[in-house]
Structure formats: C-alpha cells, structure tokens
Amino acid sequence: MTFDYYPGCTLKTKAKDLDIHARNAALALGIELEELPEWQCCGAVYPIARDEIATRLTSVRALASARDRGRELLTLCSACHHVIKRVNNDIQTDDEIRNKVNNYLAPDIEYNGETKVVHYLEMLRDTVGFDTIREKAVKPMTGKRIGAYYGCLLLRPNNVMAFDNPENPTIMEDFIRALGAEPVLYPYRNECCGGYVAMDDKNLAAQKCKNITSSALERDVDMLITACPLCMYNLDINTNTAEETKLPIYYFTELLAQVLDI
C-alpha cells in the first residue's frame, strides 16, 4: 500500500533519525511512503483560536493535495499529526472555518475534509499489523524493558485525535511487544514534557521532564521511546544532563529499524 508521507520541518534537520528509519522500516514492511510534493511546514502548534484561518492553510494544502492524489496522508511527528488531524477535523465540523479556508485557498475542488490522516503507528498497527513486525524481527529486543512516552499531542483531545484511550493508551506498548521487548507502564507517560515552553522557560520544561523520567526509572526501564522531536529534545537534551539520571531516549522508528536489522 502507498501513502502520501508528510515528514514535517524537523524531520529534515534535527530529527533525521526519526525520518530515515521510518522510511527504511516502511520499505522493509512493504509500505511505500511517497513524500508529498511541495509540502509546507504545518506550523508546529495547532491554532486553537477559532478565528485563525491563515495558520490553518498549510495543513489544508497538504490535506487537499493528498485528496487530489487519492491517498491517505501519513504523518510521523506527533506535532504534525496533531495539527493536521485537528485542522482536518475543523474543516469537517466547522462550516465557518471550511468556507473561509476554501475562499482563501480557492482550490480547484473545494476541500471538505475528505482526506484520512494516519499516524505511522496507526499504519503499523492497522495496515502492517504488529504480528507482521514480530514475524519479521531479525534482532528482537528480548529482555529489554522499554517505556513508551506518548506525550500530549498524539492523545489529546481524544474526541478529535481518537488515537487511543487518552489516559491509558496501549498502542506503543503493543508496538514494544512486537519488537520483542517488554513494555513498562508508568503513570507519567501521557504527561506533558513542557513542549514549546522550553524556548521561554527551560527550567519549567526540565522539571516536567524530570517527573517523567523519574517516574519511568522508578519502574526500572532501560529506555524510553517517543514520536516527537520536541519531546526528544526536552527529555534527552534539556533534562538528561546529570549522568546519574541518564536514561536513553529513542525515536520509536530507530528501534523498529534496528529490530528489522536495516
């Protein structure tokens, strides 16, 4: 199956690891990811304000383009997924936003929210199947205790994202099992890492991340995985300076590629 792939800004630069392993792993699993031509940055944060139209347009361009190509739109970065999925929902449910967006963009065919937005993890679960990963695992991570870090953006708000149970998600744990490792549940896996506040108040973000990592360490994890470059920065670089709390953080695609031995 072929998806239109939306990498997003950071995956071309600071989060190349997230991107490249995702592409390679998909190929190995028989999924074709075709990069959406001329995609633009999604804006990184969802414009909550209802009267913001311009900041929604780049997402709509990507969505409409995928629609025109007859494909589902696959995202990888949590922030991109959050923004694009929610803007798509706005178009589907809010007449005013839909009308204004179509007036601004004046596309050949009006965009009415037809595109399905799929996160890479959802693709692994629903299209590939975690069992297939388990079968194709060349170097399973047997014995490793891995904590899934979901963060906020994949899960909330659940009535739009519909990703998983927002307070007790399981998709990453199932993924970890498919890698042959043991998933470790810890209560702060869906608490915020601080996000963009890191730009303005590094300490606040660091404090939040410390709650997360110590909660995970208390459950004796070997490593954490994430799907978001900003979470990675906050958890890994902004916080993890002291040697004693050094907890390896990986993008989930890195481990996937490693297990598939790519």
Partner: protein, 130 residues
C-alpha cells in the same frame, strides 16, 4: 458589567469557541495542570474571570506564557469547557496588539542552543508572537 469588559469577555468567548457558563467549578483543570506551579492565575480562575469580565487582569497574567497547550484540562474537564482554549484566546488578544509580541526575533540568538529543533522555534513564534 461595564460595556467594554462585556465586549472583551465576549471576544474571548468567540475566539476560544467555548462557553464559560458551562463550568461547574469543580477545579479538575487546576488539578490537572502541569504548569500550575509557575502560574499566577490558575486555570479554573481563567474561566470564572472571563465570566466576570476581568480580562485586563488575565491579559497581564504570567500564566498565559506558561500554559504548555498540553490539553490535559481540555481532556479531563467534565463539562467540555476547554480552559486551554480560553488561555489561548487571552494570549492571542495580547499578542495581536501592535508591538506586543512576547518573543521577538532579536531575542532568539541568546535563547538558541545548537540542538534545539526548529519545531520549538516555530511553535514558540506561533504561541508568543504575531
């Protein structure tokens, strides 16, 4: 309520798209907020202060720069009030005024560390500037 404050409150309701009257004052937003320690006005007060038209106080609040838009309050609110949307609406009301940006391009070099992803930069500009 004064006409001006009434208009201000109405604007906040419009931008946020949420109905503050639905709040039953349970405080689950404040109970959920991960940035609470840094806030001078707690999330539940945002809701009631919009109701009372105290928008100027909210606009001067430090809380609007500390909210991380993690949507924990939105997800857990039993009445669908969305405090995060109200905080966003106040933040927008502030930065949409001329020369009122919280983050300016000239501040960037000192904030930059080489490993910071541009996602953080883009997000911060979207949240703190217009």
């Amino acid at each position: 309520m004064h006409q001006k404050t009434q208009l201000q409150a109405e604007t906040i309701r419009l931008i946020s798209g949420t109905n503050t009257r639905k709040c039953m004052k349970c405080g689950k937003c404040t109970a959920s907020c991960p940035a609470f320690a840094e806030m001078d006005i707690s999330p539940h007060k945002f809701v009631s202060m919009v109701e009372h038209g105290e928008i100027d106080k909210l606009m001067a609040s430090k809380s609007i720069w500390k909210c991380m838009s993690c949507f924990a309050c939105v997800e857990r609110c039993p009445r669908g009030v969305e405090p995060a949307s109200i905080i966003e609406a106040v933040r927008q009301t502030v930065i949409r005024k001329q020369n009122n940006n919280y983050l300016r391009p000239e501040n960037i070099p000192e904030l930059l560390d080489p490993k910071i992803p541009q996602q953080a930069l883009v997000s911060a500009f979207r949240k703190y500037s217009k």
